[in-house]
Subunit: 409 residues, 2 copies
Amino acid sequence: MARLNANYYKLAAGYLFPEITRRTKAFLETNPEIKLMKLGIGNTTEPLTATVIEGLHKGVNNLAGIETYTGYGEYHGELPIRTALRSFYKKRNVDIDVEEFFVSDGAKPDSGNIQSIFCTDSRVAVQDPAYPVYVDTNVIAGRSGQFNQDKKLYEDILYMPCTEKNGFIPDPPSEKMDLIYLCSPNNPTGAVATKEQLKLFVDYAISNQAVIIFDAAYSAFIRDPDLPRSIYEVEGAKKCAIEINSFSKSAGFTGVRLGWTIVPFELAIENVKPGDVHKFWMRRQSTFFNGPSNIIQEGGVAALSDKGWKECQELVNYYMKNARIILEGLSRMGLTVYGGTNGPYVWLKTPNNMTSWEFFDKLLYETHVVGTPGSGFGPSGEGFFRLSAFGHSEDIQQAVKSIQDNLRL
Amino acid sequence: MARLNANYYKLAAGYLFPEITRRTKAFLETNPEIKLMKLGIGNTTEPLTATVIEGLHKGVNNLAGIETYTGYGEYHGELPIRTALRSFYKKRNVDIDVEEFFVSDGAKPDSGNIQSIFCTDSRVAVQDPAYPVYVDTNVIAGRSGQFNQDKKLYEDILYMPCTEKNGFIPDPPSEKMDLIYLCSPNNPTGAVATKEQLKLFVDYAISNQAVIIFDAAYSAFIRDPDLPRSIYEVEGAKKCAIEINSFSKSAGFTGVRLGWTIVPFELAIENVKPGDVHKFWMRRQSTFFNGPSNIIQEGGVAALSDKGWKECQELVNYYMKNARIILEGLSRMGLTVYGGTNGPYVWLKTPNNMTSWEFFDKLLYETHVVGTPGSGFGPSGEGFFRLSAFGHSEDIQQAVKSIQDNLRL
C-alpha cells in the first residue's frame, strides 16, 4: 500500500502566499469594484531590456537551423554562460572556476534542493524571519519536529532572531549546527550583512564543520560599494559556503527562469573528501535535472554582457527608486521602516503593536494595498510587514498615497 | 558537523552516460583522426519546426512590452498550455481536468522528483531494464539497500525482467509493491504495452493500493492506432496512475525543456483523502519549483496547435524512418533486433553471447559507432544493446553501413 511522505502533513498553514491570495479573494468578493494595489509578492513588472530580448531571440533562432540546433546540454549549463558568470564575479575580485558554477532554472529550486545532498539528521539553522523555502524543504526532508502552534515555529530547527536590536543580522548560533541558511540582502527584512558580520559566520562554519547556504538573489540591489555582494568576498568562505543567485530580480527573469549555484571545490567537511560536496551536487543535478533551457541561457549571457548588465542595472535602479518612495512616504507618516536602501524590500514595524495579519487586513480594507505579513516568514517577523518595491512606479506612488490618505493610525 | 547524504555513496559505477563518454574519449585519444557515429544518447538533432519557432519568438516578444510582460506564473503552468494539453488528450478520448496537469521543465525532473511525495519506506518496482533515473532517485531517497555487484542490482528494489520471452513487457509482480514505474513506449527496449497488458497493472495497483508512475515520454512515436498513448486509455487508471510526458522527443525540446505530469484528483490510496496525492504534488512543486518558463510555454502551446502538432509529427516520422533503416539494416545482417516500430529505440541482441560492454567496445573499435550497453539499464539488459534513431538521416545510414561493412561477426 503506497503511503504519502508524512512530513508534508507537518507543513503549517500552507505556504504564506496562498493565504494572502485567499484573503485578497475574500475581500474582492465583497468589494468587486475595488482595484487593489499589490506590494506583496516580490514579482518583477518591467519588461526585459533590449539586449536581453535580442539574446533570447538569438537563442530561439539557434534552434531553427540545423547547424546551430542543440539538444541536451551540460547539466550545469553551457560554457558561455559559466564563463560569463566567472567574469561577473571577477569584477568583484572573486575567483570562481567555470566548473564550480551550476546554472539552473532558478534560485528557488536550488535553495530548495541543496539540502538533499546532506544527511537527513543535519541540524538546520535559519534566519528568523526567512524566505519560507529554506524551512519548508527541510521539514519535507524530515529535519524538523512538529510545528509548535504557540511558538509558531518548527521544533528541531534553530531560528536565529533578526531583530531591531541586532539590526536584523544575527550572530552565529552558540550551538553546533550543520546547515546554516543566510540571505543577504535579506528577504524579507531588506538588511544587508557586512563583511565583518559574514566573517563571524564563516569562522563559525569552519570551526564547526558546518556548511553555509548563502542566498544572494538580491545582490544586484546593493548600492553601498563596501557591502559584500558575494560571500566569497569574505576570506575562507570557499571552504564552507555554497552560494545561490538568480537572474530573476536583476534581469526580470522571474517568469523566464534562470539562476545559478556555486559549490566550490575547496568546500570540505570532516570525513568527506575535498571536492565531494561539489561531486554530490553534480550527481544530484545530473540525476534530477537536465540542464537549464538553451534558449534562456542565451538571455542570461546577454544580461551579463557589459551592455546588458548596464541595462539591467537601470532596471534595478527603477525598483530601488520605488523603494525610496515607500521608505520616505511611510517615514513621513511616522511609521518605523527598515531596509529598502540596499535591497528591494521595506520592512515596516506595524503601528500600535498590531500583529502582522491584523495589519494585513487593516491595510487591505482601509487602503486597498496588499503587502506581506512578517509573521509568515517566521516568529520574529511578528509585528512586522514586508512591502515590496517591485511594481510600476505610478502604482507604487498611488499605493503610498493611499496609505498616507487612508490608513487610520 | 555537516555530513553528506550517504545514499549517494551507494550509487553504482556512476551514471551510464558518463561511462560511455569516458570510453569514447579514451578511444579518441588513441584515434584522434576518426569521426565517431553516435547512436548512443537519445538526443534530438533536427531543428524546431516553423510554428514552434514562431511561438517561442512570441514568448520572447511578450516580455519586451509592458502590457504583455509577465513575472512569476502558476506553479503548474499557465492556463493556455494546460488547456492545450487537455485538448490534446481529448483527441484520444481521455478527459483530464486542466487542474490535473502540472507543466514543468521536463519529464526527467518530474520522474525523478515524484517519489519524494511518497514515504521513504515505499517498496519500489521497476521494469528491468529501465531508464536509470527511476532507480537512482529512489536509491538517493533511501529506498534501496546496497548495490549487489554479483546480481548487478540494488537490494530491496524489485526488478521486473523484460525479456525476449515476455516480449519485454513484464507481468505485474506477485509481491505487494507500493510504487511501480512503467515506461511505454519503452526506453530502452522500444517495446510498447498493449491496453490489455496495462490493464493487468492497473488492476494490480488498485487491488494492492499501489501507485503506477507511467512515463509516456515516447508516446508520439506510436504508429499503431490500437496501442495506448496514455495509461488513462485504460479503465481505472485514474484511480492509481500518475502519467509523465515531455515535449523533448516529440517537438525537439531536449535542450528547450518542457514536460508535464498528470496527477488525477481521483487518485486515491488507503488512509489518504481523495485528492491528497494531487495536493501533495502541488505542494512539492510550489515549494521546490517556480513554474515552467513563460517563454518556453509559448513554444509548447504552438507545438500543440493543429499546425504545430502536424509539423512535430513530421519530425517524429523523420526519426522513425531512421529507426526503420537501423532495424532493416541490422536484420539483413542476421542480427536479432527488437523495438523500433512504435518507439525510437532499437534493442539489439548482442551476437555470440557477448556482454553489452564487450559489444560496446567491439562496435566502437571496429565500426566507430557508439551505442548504449543494455546492461547499463539493469541486469536484464545484459546481452542487449540500445541503438537510438535520433540523428541526421545521412549519419544513421552511414553508421548502419559501417556496421554492415566492418562488424566482424
